[in-house]
């Protein structure tokens, strides 16, 4: 028995030794400086929002519409017991194409204490976008308010500026 065990141990040692000899460090792919973004579609445009400001993606079941609010306020929904305002960026960016939203997924944005949910046509997923990939003065962006958009990348994804867009002063309704 013990002889058998000894041989096995020896075998393991040899294998381990060989493994160590053959081992190579994992090649780290080169990543340019940049950030992760949540990419979503809206009115046939792709938008990206810094993941640091994206709280979660939720499936919208029902929205309470609030009368007497501007068009970009879709309504209010209950997210685990607390109320969140739902925003339709299409109206805010003046791109109200005659389309109905293609999905029931909304992206919850959080900027400090400020929280809203954005309606989307689809949440595409996470994407790494490098800083130098973002062009800030493309002609495509002329239709959008400058202060709320950081730029656009090669894939025509519009990068939002959450710091300026998602705050009370910009979206507030105070009648």
């Amino acid at each position: 028995m013990s002889e058998d065990a000894g041989r096995k141990a020896l075998e393991r040692n040899i294998l381990k030794h060989r493994a160590m000899l053959l081992a190579r460090p994992i090649e780290k792919p080169f990543t340019p400086p940049g950030k992760q973004y949540v990419v979503f579609e809206l009115a046939k445009e792709k938008f990206a929002c810094d993941i640091a400001y994206s709280d979660e993606v939720i499936v919208v079941k029902s929205i309470l519409t609030i009368p007497c609010t501007p068009q970009y306020i879709v309504g209010v929904l209950s997210l685990r017991g607390s109320l969140v305002t739902v925003i339709d960026l299409r109206y805010f960016f003046n791109m109200q194409e005659k389309t109905v939203l293609g999905s029931d997924r909304a992206l919850v944005i959080k900027n400090g204490d400020f929280r809203v949910a954005l309606l989307t046509d689809d949440v595409v997923g996470l994407q790494y976008i490098a800083h130098d990939e973002i062009q800030s003065n493309s002609t495509i962006l002329y239709n959008f308010p400058k202060e709320h958009v950081t730029g656009i990348n090669n894939e025509r994804t519009i990068i939002l500026n959450p710091q300026s867009l998602f705050k009370k002063e910009v979206l507030e309704v105070n009648q």
Binding site: P67, C68, I73, T85, F114, E172, Q175
Partner: protein
């Protein structure tokens, strides 16, 4: 006498809390000093402790605890000595001070609130003399302190300290107060309010159970009726079949029996649960609301300061006398009440009280009094009166003003009662224009005061005698009541209207409604009340004729308004949550609440609605224009043509019916090719198409329209049973404007979609 006792008790209670705080602070200071001795720390600690002991000295004098006062005095002098000499506190002295603090604490905690006696004084005295002896300062007052100390000094000091510590520990646990930040408490109270939903759910479940029982009951009755026939039929059939059927009948009966029994059990337990939930929630809510009750007197300082400042400004001599300040009122109500109260005080000094010269001429004392009196009246309400002894309100001037503003004719003014004339002062338009000395400034401000008070669910009235003074009398609830709301339907939306704002609800059909001077009005009681559609105010669509509508009579006082809704579905308790950011304030909407069904509903701000109703009323043209606009969009629907393409006849008929019931012109096609043909010959505003169809699929059709036709910008809705993401993508790629999955097919949704597209 008993009041005094009560007062002393309160005073001692307050002292106890304050003293405990000071002594605990001292202990911490000493303990940290013990850990890090040094001159700098010593000096800082002395500074700190001097403040503590100084305040403690003062407050112990107020409750007559001379020993503690004396101890503080002695300690202060020791500390001052150290401070001026920039000397470090020795470890021994630190220890002594600590022991003294502990003894004082036990004195304080053992203080009997009723009698003011305290045990532990002997102990303290002993310690004090010991400490003084050691700090080499011979006490002047004690005759034989040293021997006393020595004879009792047999106890080892360590043990002694231990004792004190244990005592201290126990004592602080048994004192009945704890400091909790208001924010935290409010948060908890707010959460508790949401428990109302648990009650609603319990109610709803019981109702559901009842519904189930009645369904099963109906079934059973039906079954009993046809059972003999079934058995008869079974007898006629073959032996084998007969057995099967009989077996099934028996099985069915026992099954239904068991179901009924289970349901009955469920009902009993639901009932029990409902009772328990209601009791628990109501109890908790009541207790939590009591937690936030505060005596009115907390505002006394503020009021006194304001009175003094304004009086000084106007060089008048005014004294504020508060009675009944101990009355406890909910913090929120008190908070909301503060502003109107300040306004009224300002008003009284500014306009009510004469200048000193005038007062003396009138033979009044130079100093004037403003009496604020609170008294509880039944059912949780408090009456607050503000009475000044100034010049009073000149009724003649109000009449004059009312006539000049054409509110009433001179004859009518003579007939009008005093109260009605005073009520004019609360109208926001009254006396805002050119100056009327006696009542100027009372216009707008008083309107706001009245609004605030009414918002709190209270009322306000004025009483005045010329040259003797004016009294403002207000009645407000002392605590917030659970809010009830009526659920009403407008434009397929359920809205909640606070019950407290509704005076009555009637079907318009049941009362006399007609157009008076260009406005729809209905007769309520003996009054003609203007009617306004809630839908018009909220800019929603009206679904019914006014004969079918329910009128909610709202508005306080003499100006009720009938607010028309399509339907009233019930009443329920509501816990209103304010709207989330960025919705700081939305016109006509107070917040949102959960309905019994678990859905959210908007809560109407009746005050806003009423003021909008007045605006709408006075601006009849605007309303007419709005109506016309709405009518136009309505008639638009009739001219819109829609082509429905589906190979299934059921779907076709269903879609056609839904659309036609919403006044659209509908034509149908059996498949893509058929649709394509129809589209060539006629113009349609919208295409609704299925995906899977023979000859040409919905996607092919869409693609063809988008690429090959002259009407490529026509909106297209794709309706299908396919729910996969892949299809959705294809749909969007080929150019569908909207994509609709049959499985979550809802009538209103489709119509909404159509409306948005054309």
């Amino acid at each position: 006498m008993s009041v005094d006792l009560e007062f002393l008790k309160k005073l001692r209670e307050a002292f106890q809390i304050e003293a405990t705080e000071h002594l605990e602070e001292v202990s911490t200071t000493l303990l940290s000093l013990e850990k890090n001795p040094g001159l700098a720390q010593s000096q800082a600690s002395i500074e700190k402790m001097l403040r503590n002991f100084h305040s403690l000295k003062g407050s112990s004098r107020a409750v007559n605890l001379s020993l503690i006062e004396k101890t503080c005095q002695e300690i202060e002098s020791i500390l001052v000595e150290h401070k001026s000499a920039s000397r470090e506190l020795s470890a021994d002295l630190t220890d002594d001070l600590y022991k003294l603090a502990c003894s004082m604490l036990s004195c304080v905690t053992s203080l009997d609130l009723a009698s003011g006696n305290t045990s532990g004084e002997n102990e303290l005295e002993k310690q004090l003399t010991g400490a003084l002896f050691r700090s080499s300062k011979v006490p002047e007052l004690e005759s034989n302190p040293i021997s006393d100390y020595v004879s009792n000094g047999g106890d080892s000091p360590g043990e002694n300290q231990e004792d004190v510590k244990v005592q201290h520990h126990l004592a602080s646990l048994s004192t009945g107060t704890m400091r909790v930040s208001v924010d935290r408490m409010e948060e908890i109270v707010k959460r508790l309010e949401e428990l109302v939903y648990a009650k609603l759910v319990a109610d709803q479940r019981l109702t559901d159970c009842d519904d189930l029982q009645s369904i099963l009951g109906k079934w059973t009755r039906q079954w009993h009726r046809i059972r003999p026939e079934v058995e008869n039929e079974a007898q006629k059939s073959g032996h084998k079949q007969k057995n099967y059927i009989q077996e099934f009948i028996d099985l069915h009966d026992s099954f239904v029996g068991r179901l009924q029994e289970k349901l009955l059990n469920l009902e009993t337990s639901f009932q029990q649960e409902k009772r328990i939930t209601h009791n628990l929630v109501d109890g908790l809510l009541e207790k939590s609301r009591e937690l936030t009750m505060t005596p009115f007197s907390v505002l006394q300082d503020l009021f006194e300061r304001i009175v003094r400042d304004i009086a000084k400004q106007q060089s008048k001599d005014v004294k504020l006398i508060l009675a009944g300040g101990e009355t406890e009122i909910d913090r929120h109500i008190l908070d909301d009440f503060k502003e109107p109260m300040i306004h009224l005080l300002r008003n009284s000094i500014d306009h009510g009280i004469e200048s000193t010269k005038d007062r003396l001429e009138k033979g009044k004392p130079e100093q004037s009094n403003i009496r604020v009196t609170l008294s509880m009246i039944d059912s949780g309400k408090v009456e607050i009166s503000i009475k000044d002894d100034g010049r009073g309100i000149d009724l003649a001037k109000i009449k004059e003003r009312a006539v000049s503003m054409r509110i009433m004719t001179p004859e009518k003014a003579e007939e009008t009662s005093e109260q009605q004339l005073y009520a004019l002062l609360f109208r926001s338009s009254f006396s805002t224009k050119d100056e009327v000395s006696d009542i100027s400034g009372r216009g707008i401000g008083l309107a706001i005061v009245k609004e605030t008070i009414e918002k709190l669910g209270g009322q306000i009235e004025i009483d005045s005698k010329l040259n003797e003074g004016t009294t403002f009398r207000m009645i407000v609830p002392v605590r917030r009541a659970t809010m009830f709301g009526v659920t009403a339907v407008v434009d397929n939306q359920t809205l909640v209207v606070p019950t407290s704002a509704i005076r009555s609800a009637i079907r318009v059909r049941d009362c006399d409604s007609r157009i008076v001077q260009g406005r729809w009005t209905l007769t309520f009681g003996e009054r003609l009340v203007p009617m306004v559609w809630l839908a018009d105010i909220l800019d929603l669509d009206n679904k019914v004729d006014h004969e079918e509508a329910v009128a909610l009579i709202c508005g306080k006082g003499d100006y009720p308004v009938a607010i028309l809704v399509e339907e009233v579905t019930g009443e329920q308790e509501v816990a209103v949550s304010p709207l989330p950011t960025p919705l700081t304030r939305v016109r006509h909407i107070t917040g949102a609440t959960l309905l019994k069904t678990g859905d959210l509903a908007a809560v109407i701000n009746v005050n806003d609605v009423l003021s909008s109703a007045h605006l709408l009323g006075s601006n009849a043209d605007a309303l007419e224009a709005r109506r016309a606009r709405k009518a136009k969009t309505g008639s638009n629907a009739a001219t819109k043509k829609i082509l429905v393409t589906d190979d299934s006849i059921t779907s076709r008929v269903l879609l056609k019916n839904i659309l036609e019931s919403n006044d659209y012109q509908v034509e149908v096609a059996n498949d893509g090719e058929d649709a394509w043909q129809k589209l060539q010959t006629k113009r349609f505003d919208l295409l609704i198409t299925d995906v899977e169809m023979p000859k040409m699929s919905g996607f092919e059709l869409t693609k063809k329209i988008r690429t090959e036709s002259t009407f490529s910008d026509m909106p297209i809705i794709v309706v299908t049973s396919l729910a996969s993401l892949e299809d959705r993508k294809t749909g969007v790629e080929v150019g569908a404007s909207a994509y609709f999955v049959k499985s979550n097919f809802e009538k209103s949704n489709l119509i909404d979609m159509v409306k948005r597209l054309i």
